[in-house]
Amino acid sequence: MTIASPVIVDDFVEIRRSPWQRAWLFCRRQPLGTFGMVIVVIMALAGLCAEEIAPYSPTANDFAAMTEPPSWAHWLGTDQFGRDQLSRIIYGARTALIVGFSCAMIASVAGLVLGVGSAYFGGRLDLYLQGVLDVVMAFPLIILALAVVAIFGTGVHNVITAITIPLIPRCARVLRSSALSIREVPYVDAARACGFGHSRIILRHMVPNVVAPFLILLTAFVGQAILAEASLSYLGLGVQEPVPAWGLMLQGGAEEYASTAPWIAVFPGLAIALTVFGFSLFGDALRDALDPKLRDR
């Protein structure tokens, strides 16, 4: 008989690691994910400390400095109204992250409640709920978002509503399938046999087991929401002036000044792409780290 297999010993060592050690291990194992995380942190800091970092007001027009190319005074140049591009991008990070995190958080939490609840109670509730979610999922994200904007109008709050609604069923569907497998495990039966209430079983035994897919979806949704917000704002149906938003910066002069002032088109788009890229890399790494089957892919 063998005393203990090396795998068990290795697992034991992993469990004993401190959060910092785990973070360090994540960074070493997932260099791309770490790079994504760095981008996300930089953007988040830019959004949080916009007042301190931005060299100019994002809404201040300077008609003496219209469409100026990048210089020491304006690192990323100015737009057609003489507004500093760098300042608008820094403030735009705040708008993007507010919309991104709000949509992702609301959609994920609502999806968690619907998905886990639907899986736990099953029966007719599950059947009807899945039917409704199927119908909402039949709408491509941007189409449903546009339809919601058509009703509620534009602006930050309405954009958050418009993007959140299509994300909810996508989250509920994934979390339901994760929760369904957990519902069948013996400890949930044991909890039921002990006479625990539904809320205790759901919150203490089922929800902690779907945290991994929940976190993966959350990061994916932030990126998707930022992209959707930028698209809506670019179409003139999202965030409205004078709020600085990346999509909105591309709406006005980007095409008109494409040949004479290309920096108006390049930098805001780069900010969107980099941020979503960061979230995608981080989300992928998180998925790989949390799912042992994917570690070697």
Binding site: V136, F139, L146, A147, A150, E255, P262, I272, V276
Partner: protein, 323 residues
């Protein structure tokens, strides 16, 4: 198989009915009176009788249930009503703009698969190598890059290159000419939006191809093929790729969503009069009859695409239909 086909097709009906109910309800949630918006959009004055006449014309004076039945029946017959903005039949407006969107969508799918399948396969074959790293970054960048920005950059590149080459900037044409009338003009108009939408769509397929190939390459029959000395390209093409592409078929449904989303913004960038631009204009102009017709058409196309994909997948993989 027949039972599965019938079951799957029957499932389309409640989904479409549910979607119709949702669209119907969404359009009735619009604050204010649609007729007041419609009559007031011209800036002229109007009285109660005009509003009542408008209600009667749109059928808004009837009970909700009857309105819904009318809406569904109209949709079944292809009668979407009159556009509140242009005053022309909705179907005529849509029919005029449909060819350009369809052509871009088809070309985008071709572009996406031409990019995605070879690169996804190469990425899997060179797993964890610098090539794999570059391809993975390229595919994630495709998901992260907004279509409209890519379109603007493409326009920027066209302007600069044409200016450098011919001394004057050139822009792709914006008025649609069918491919059989003037293939060169048609292609020069369609290719750039198709590249823009196609790159983003390819990102999803590329990742799926890589993942499926990695799975297949670990299968026993691949090891057996190698053990019996089969040439590597035959193992890849005949054994691995054929099986790996099976799950990629399911992506066509997801691709459809990306295509529709991509078209909505890309047509705006390239100033093309397609369905996507019509949709944005109808929302901007508060043209509710047009908006609801377009939403329903897009949802129907999306649901039908997914049904066809499911049927193809069941035909290709017998395990699905016997479940």
């Amino acid at each position: 198989m027949y039972r599965y086909i019938i079951k799957r097709i029957l499932l389309v009906i409640p989904t479409l009915l549910g979607a119709a109910a949702l669209v119907f309800l969404l359009m009735r949630l619009i604050p204010g009176d649609i007729c007041v918006v419609r009559l007031g959009s011209g800036g002229g004055t109007f009285d109660e009788r005009a509003v009542a006449a408008c209600h009667a014309q749109l059928g808004l004076d009837r009970p909700m249930l009857l309105q819904f039945v009318d809406f569904v029946w109209g949709f079944v017959r292809g009668d979407f009503g009159i556009s509140m903005w242009s005053g022309k039949p909705v179907l005529t407006e849509i029919a005029a703009r449909f060819p350009v969107s369809l052509e871009i969508a088809i070309m985008a799918v071709v572009v996406a698969n031409v990019i995605a399948i070879p690169l996804g396969t190469l990425s899997a074959l060179k797993q964890n190598s610098p090539i794999d790293f570059v391809i993975r970054v390229f595919s994630i960048a495709g998901l992260a890059t907004p279509s409209f920005w890519l379109g603007i950059l493409l326009i920027l590149a066209i302007l600069n290159i044409s200016h450098a080459a011919f001394g004057a900037p050139w822009m792709p044409p914006i008025d649609y000419v069918p491919i059989w009338k003037d293939p060169l003009r048609n292609l020069s108009m369609v290719i750039f939006p198709a590249l823009t939408v196609g790159y983003r769509t390819s990102a999803v397929t590329m990742r799926m191809t890589r993942s499926a190939m990695l799975e297949v390459l670990r299968e026993d029959y691949i090891r057996t093929a190698r053990a019996k000395g089969l040439v590597e390209h035959l193992i890849i093409n005949r054994h691995a790729l054929k099986n790996a592409l099976l799950p990629v078929v399911t992506l066509i449904g997801i691709e459809a969503a990306f295509l529709i989303g991509g078209l909505v913004v890309t047509e705006q960038v390239f100033n093309l009069n397609g369905i996507g631009r019509l949709f944005v204009q109808s929302v901007q102009n508060q043209d509710y009859t047009m908006t609801q017709a377009l939403v329903m058409l897009v949802v129907t196309a999306f649901v039908l695409t997914n049904t066809v994909v499911d049927l193809i997948y069941a035909w290709l993989d017998p395990r699905i239909r016997y479940q």
